[in-house]
Structure formats: structure tokens, C-alpha cells
Amino acid sequence: MSEAIETREKSTAPASGPRPARSWLRFLEPRGHWVWIALAIALILPFQLVPFRVFQLTMVLVYAVALLGLNLLVGHGGQISLGHGAFFAVGAYTAAIMMDRWDTPYPWTLPVAAAVTFVLGLALGVPAARLHGLYLALVTLAIAIFLVPLLKRFEDVTGGSMGLTLSKPQPPSWTGLAEDQWLYFLALAVAVAAFALVAGLLRSRVGRALHALRDNEIAAEVMGVRLAFYKTLAFAWSALLAGAAGCVYTWVIGFVSPDSFTVNLSITLLAGIVVGGLGSQAGPVLGGLFVMFVPSFAQDINQGAPGVIFGLLIIVVMYVAPTGLAGLAGRAVRSFDRTLRKE
């Protein structure tokens, strides 16, 4: 059966765009060099930018990791989640509580946060396996809503609505890095690992099963994909990534409170991945940039109603680029390439 999906994958691959031979833009193609170039730029940037910009980019990476998880679930698995802010919060709080209560060294909080959210994702993935579309959206939304009062209720552990203040990871002296740069590289390392993990997942049996599931559930089942199993697994992996992002968030911000993780966060994340480009590799990064920079850009346009401008910008992007920013970039590259070849 995997053979069948394999062939199907192969046959659809060329349809995603004409292969521009002998073009200097080839590295922008999925299997080109763009990954390495992006990584090289990412390594140079913190030494060139002012600390504030480095901090902003660190947050972009944090959001990108969370969006990567959401992309796996929504873009590749075709499931919907309005509650990813909750997984993000659980990851953030797991790290914060470990550092606050037991003075755990920060590197240990990452695997624990990831494990906790993975298990939570599995548990919540069980109802997800039975629910479709709007019903699933509603359940996940409920999780996001109920988490905030829950965090406030267990005040002894979570610090209640005052939250927990933590000290940020300090760079080891041998690196000679400033705090902002160190945090940036921590976030970058997590992001690279997360991207590698997802790329591996998607190339494996899981990825093919997820795509089959997204495109047509009945067909997938006929081909022998165990729907409930893969749906639950997609939920768990996706929760793990959101949890890892939440953990890095705690390192970077050094403060967690229930008000940091309202329903708004979940909705912003979903908007981010849709705008960035569902099911695309660059989507999470573009979405992260969008989530990070567009609200403050909206504020510069109109101080009175930043929310309205932000909403309008989302609508504009969706009209201009129905496949998200990643789709827009891909289209621009292809059309540019066509004009080049005509000459």
C-alpha cells in the first residue's frame, strides 16, 4: 500500500510547478539550496542586528516552531485546531514550573515540555479521531478557553494570575555571546531540529498517510491507512512542537501568566499558518514573520484601531494570495522564471 501512495506522490510532484531548468532561481525550489542559504543568513543575522531586532527574530522562530506543528496538523493532516495556544501554554508552563519549583537547569525543560505535550496531544487526539471539521474546531476551542481559568485556579503551582517570573538562560562564557544572541541561537537550534523532524516525518509513512487522509479520508481508509491512529498521531506530534515552542518562549520572555495564553493566541496561530501558507515548507516561517511584525506595522498605520487594520491585512492577503504568502512567493518565482525563459 505504501507503494501505491508513493507512486501517487511522485505523479503529483511535477504538477506543483514546471521545473525551471538552468535558472539561477533554482535554489528557491523545494529541493534546492534555499534551506542552506536561509540557514546561513539566520546564522549571520544576530551579529548584524541590534539586540531588539534579534529578540524579535527569536520570537519569530518561536512562533515558527509552533506554526510548524500546526502546519503538520492542518496543512498536511487536514484536521483543524483552534486550541494550539493551549499546547503552547502547557509547554511554557511546564518549563516555567520546573525552573521555578525545582530550579531545573533550562536545557532539561525542553524534553520534558515536549514529552508532556506529546502525551497530552495523544490524549486529546482520541476525541479528534472521531470528530470532523467544525466539531473538532469547537472541541479544541473549548480547550483553549478553559485553560486560562484552570491556570488561575491552581495558584500554588502556576502562580495564579500574577504568573511566574523566571531568570533567562545565560550564555556560557566561552561563547562570548550576549544574552539576546544566545537565546536566539537556542531558538534557532530548536527550530532547525523541529524542521528536520517534520521533514523526516513527512517523507516517511506517516507523511504519506497524512496526505492521503487530508485529500480523501474514504480513499485513504480503503488503501489501508488507519484513520484514528494517524489522526491521533498527527495531533500528538503537532502538540509536541507547540509545546517545544512554548518552552523556548519561557526561556526568551522569562515570564508566564494565564493572560499570555488566551484564546487570542490560538486564533492568531491559526491565522498565522493560513496566511503563511498551509502545507508549505516556508509557510511556518512566513507565518511567524507575519504574526510577529504585522500587528506592530498595523499600529504604525493607525494608532486608533490596530486590530481592525490587522484584520483587514489578513483579508487582503487571503484575497491576493489564497494559498498564503508561501504560495504567493512560489507563484512570483515561477512567473518571473517564465518571463526569463521567454526572452
Binding site: R22, W24, R26, F27, G32, H33, I37, A40, I41, I44, L45, Q48, L49, V50, P51, F52, R53, F55, Q56, M59, I145, V148, P149, K152, R153, G160, S161, M162, G163, T165, Y249, I253, G254, F255, S257, D259, S260, T262, N264, L265, P295, S296, Q299, Q303, G304, A305, P306, G307, F310
Partner: protein
């Protein structure tokens, strides 16, 4: 292809380098500082200008507070245009939106400090946003003055000398009610409804401490969560307690619900004390103004809706300048007056600073000596000291009568009666 990719990367890097080289901000020019101020921070301040930044929820669930900076802007525009700024320094006030989200507040604080190179943060709004940013501002040694939240930790904490509150903290407010009861109803039995968070607990804890040793007793207490749909069950339980005073420690929505529940229950008619946070007319209106006669509360600044200030010179000035510098804003909104009063307090603190430096402002706001701010109630003055990090600790009781609040009694200075507020 490999070669062109590398070339492309090189070009990108070059562009980035060029772009960022221009991005670095310059230190503000240093005027001639007096001898004792040498070596102190002068970022964001020159002989002719001072740049400050504030962070407010202009969007999101708490966006009603977004009116505060309008009052502040109007005040600074007015003194810039007509009074030549503060000591000849024109004030540039930059407002940023955090949507009441702590991580956003951190980002905006860093933007203001690192990108905009502000002299000080003048107001961050809300306890979560302030708690998220105060480690940063204190590490960077940037004054974070007159934060708009009533939590008592801004004044009791010793590790954050650069952060200070402004409005009466919740403990001081609780003390005002306790003092009022001690004189009016010395053997009161009190039922309390409170919001289950730092705000509610700060106020309730302060109240219990303030009545210790008196005949006043808390006979029943019920809490609610912000996410609760209604407080009616809690109100039913409290009504059974047979208390003769009801202390209503709520935010606006729940304040209305508790008032309505109190009105509905005709068997239980306690003296209703409504806390300041919920004491706006918009909370009372839905309940019906004829039903809330006799409800008491406390306040500290002049309400633009109160006719007794109609001829007050400061109120007249406020109305005139609001009309001129913030023509779209309704001067009757108390948040505008709040902003005006806070801005005017900043003006006084900056004027009183020995050095025009960040250190100067930090020391000045912690050494306010009976400073009068005309927009505050007569008798309410700013006072701080080495052991006192709370600028305003006096309030006056008010009673709802007809269609508005009416002040009564003397201004209660909780400093004099109870001594300084301390942690725990």
C-alpha cells in the same frame, strides 16, 4: 548554479549589513550636566526635548483603557504648545499597544527602550504587562514610572527601584473602607464578594488586616472567576450570612451583577460598598439608578461628570485643552481625566528632579513631598519616601445620590492612620 547561489547569498548578506549599519541608534546628545549629575544616564533627554513611552491595551478585551493615553497626550500637547514643555523640554509621548498581552508588552517595552531610545517608560497598564516588563526595565535601569495598576507589589518590592505605581493600591483602598466602617458602623458584620485573583485577594487581605483589633468582622466571603457567567449563586450564599455590610470587590461586569442581585433580594439590605474599579456610572446604569441610591465607594481624582467641579479652575482648563488638543475625545470620560492627572504628576516629578537624568527621575518619584496635583481631590497629595513607594494613599468616600456620586466626609489618609503598606 552553485556559484550563482553563493553570489546571491553574498549580495543578500551585503544588503543586510548595509541596512543594519544604519539601524543603530545614536546616544542622545549630552547637554552640560551639573557636577553632581555627571556620569548619569541621559538617553532620550536633551535641553529641549524629553522622549517617553507608554504601553496600553489599545486593542483587545481591555481596550477601554485605551482612553487613558488620550488624556495624557492632550496634557503634554498643551504644555508643549503653551508652557514651553517641562523646564523648556518639549515632551514627546509615544504610545504602543500591547493588547493586554504580556509578551507583547515585553516586545513594546524593548522597542521603546532600544529602538526609540526613550528616557523613561511612563505608564504600563495592567498588572500582568507590568510584571512581565519590570525585570527588564530594572536590569536596563530605565525608569518605569506611575504604572497604571493598583497591585501593592510595585511599592513593597525592594528589588525594583526603577518601577513605581501611582494610583492608590488595593490595600490602601481596603484601608479606606475599614476606616470608614470603624467610624460609621463600629460593629459591622461584613460579607465580601471578591474576584479570585491578585486584585481581589490584595483588597480582601488588606481589608482583613485593617479591621484586625476592631469590632468589625468578616462573616462571609465568596469568590468568583473572571470566566464565571454570573455571581448570583455567590450572592445567594452571602445573603444568608445576615451581614449588615456588603463589600463588593469586583470588576465592572460583575459589579453590575452583584448590584442587581442585591437589589433583587429585598430581604437583605446591607450597606453596599462598591470598590473603585467598578464605581463608574456605566456599571450602575444597567441596574437602574433609582435602585443604587446610598451605595458607597471611594475615589481620589476629580470626576468630570461631577457638577461640583464645574467651576473648578483645573477642570475648566482640562475641558478647554481637551477640546483644543483632543477634539475627538469626550472629556466626560473619567479615563481621560485619569490620564491628565497622571501626566500632570509626571510633570511635577520631572520638574522636581535634581538631575535631568534617568537617575534623577528615579530618585524624584521616590522623594515626592506633599505634591499637589490639581486634578486630584483637594487633600489628596503625592507623597513618597525611602520606605514608602506609593504616591497616592488617600481617598475620600462617596455616596451615590440622584444621578451621580457625592463626596462625603474627610479625605482619609491611610498613611497616617495605618502606617506604610508592607509586603505580607
Amino acid at each position: 548554479m552553485g556559484v550563482s547561489a553563493i553570489r546571491w547569498a553574498a549580495v543578500t548578506t551585503a544588503v543586510l549589513l548595509a541596512a543594519t549599519a544604519c539601524g543603530r541608534g545614536d546616544e542622545a546628545s549630552k547637554g552640560a550636566l551639573p557636577e553632581e549629575c555627571k556620569g548619569q544616564q541621559t538617553t532620550g533627554i536633551t535641553d529641549t526635548s524629553i522622549k517617553i513611552g507608554g504601553i496600553y491595551p489599545l486593542s483587545g478585551p481591555a481596550s477601554a483603557y485605551g482612553d487613558i493615553p488620550k488624556g495624557i497626550k492632550a496634557y503634554f500637547d498643551y504644555i508643549n504648545a503653551e508652557k514651553n514643555g517641562i523646564d523648556g523640554r518639549k515632551v514627546e509621548f509615544i504610545v504602543r499597544d500591547d493588547g493586554y498581552q504580556p509578551p507583547k508588552a515585553v516586545e513594546e517595552a524593548r522597542r521603546l527602550v532600544e529602538q526609540e531610545q526613550v528616557f523613561a517608560l511612563f505608564q504600563t497598564l495592567g498588572t500582568p504587562s507590568t510584571a512581565a516588563t519590570w525585570d527588564y526595565t530594572n536590569q536596563r535601569k530605565v525608569p518605569q514610572v506611575f504604572v497604571a495598576t493598583g497591585a501593592s507589589q510595585w511599592g513593597t518590592d525592594k528589588n525594583h527601584p526603577w518601577t513605581i505605581g501611582w494610583q492608590p493600591n488595593y490595600i490602601s483602598e481596603a484601608r479606606v473602607y475599614a476606616q470608614f466602617l470603624k467610624t460609621e458602623k463600629p460593629d459591622a458584620k461584613v460579607a465580601v464578594l471578591y474576584q479570585n485573583d491578585d486584585f481581589g485577594k490584595d483588597l480582601l487581605g488588606g481589608f482583613k488586616k485593617a479591621i484586625a483589633g476592631s469590632q468589625i468582622k468578616v462573616v462571609a466571603e465568596e469568590s468568583y472567576e473572571v470566566s464565571d457567567p454570573t455571581v448570583e449563586p455567590q450572592m445567594r450564599n452571602l445573603a444568608r450570612s445576615d451581614a449588615d455590610v456588603f463589600l463588593n470587590v469586583t470588576t465592572p461586569k460583575f459589579g453590575s451583577q452583584a448590584l442587581a442581585a442585591d437589589v433583587k433580594n429585598t430581604d437583605w439590605n446591607p450597606l453596599h460598598i462598591l470598590n473603585n474599579v467598578a464605581a463608574s456610572i456605566t456599571v450602575l446604569k444597567p441596574v437602574g439608578l433609582k435602585n443604587v441610591q446610598g451605595v458607597v465607594s471611594a475615589t481620589y481624582y476629580k470626576d468630570p461628570n461631577d457638577p461640583q467641579w464645574a467651576d473648578d479652575p483645573e477642570m475648566k482648563l482640562y475641558r478647554e485643552k481637551m477640546a483644543k488638543y483632543a477634539p475627538g475625545a469626550d472629556p466626560n470620560v473619567p479615563y481621560h481625566a485619569f490620564g491628565w492627572a497622571a501626566a500632570s504628576s509626571f510633570h511635577k516629578a520631572m520638574e522636581a528632579a535634581k538631575c535631568p537624568t534617568r537617575e534623577g527621575l528615579r530618585d524624584s518619584v521616590r522623594n515626592l513631598n506633599d505634591v499637589e496635583v490639581p486634578m486630584l481631590l483637594p487633600g489628596v497629595r503625592l507623597q513618597t519616601g525611602p520606605d514608602d513607594g506609593f504616591p497616592i494613599e488617600s481617598m475620600q468616600m462617596m455616596r451615590f445620590k440622584g444621578e451621580r456620586w457625592e463626596l462625603f466626609g474627610e479625605v482619609i489618609d491611610t498613611r497616617k492612620v495605618f502606617g506604610p503598606v508592607t509586603a505580607d
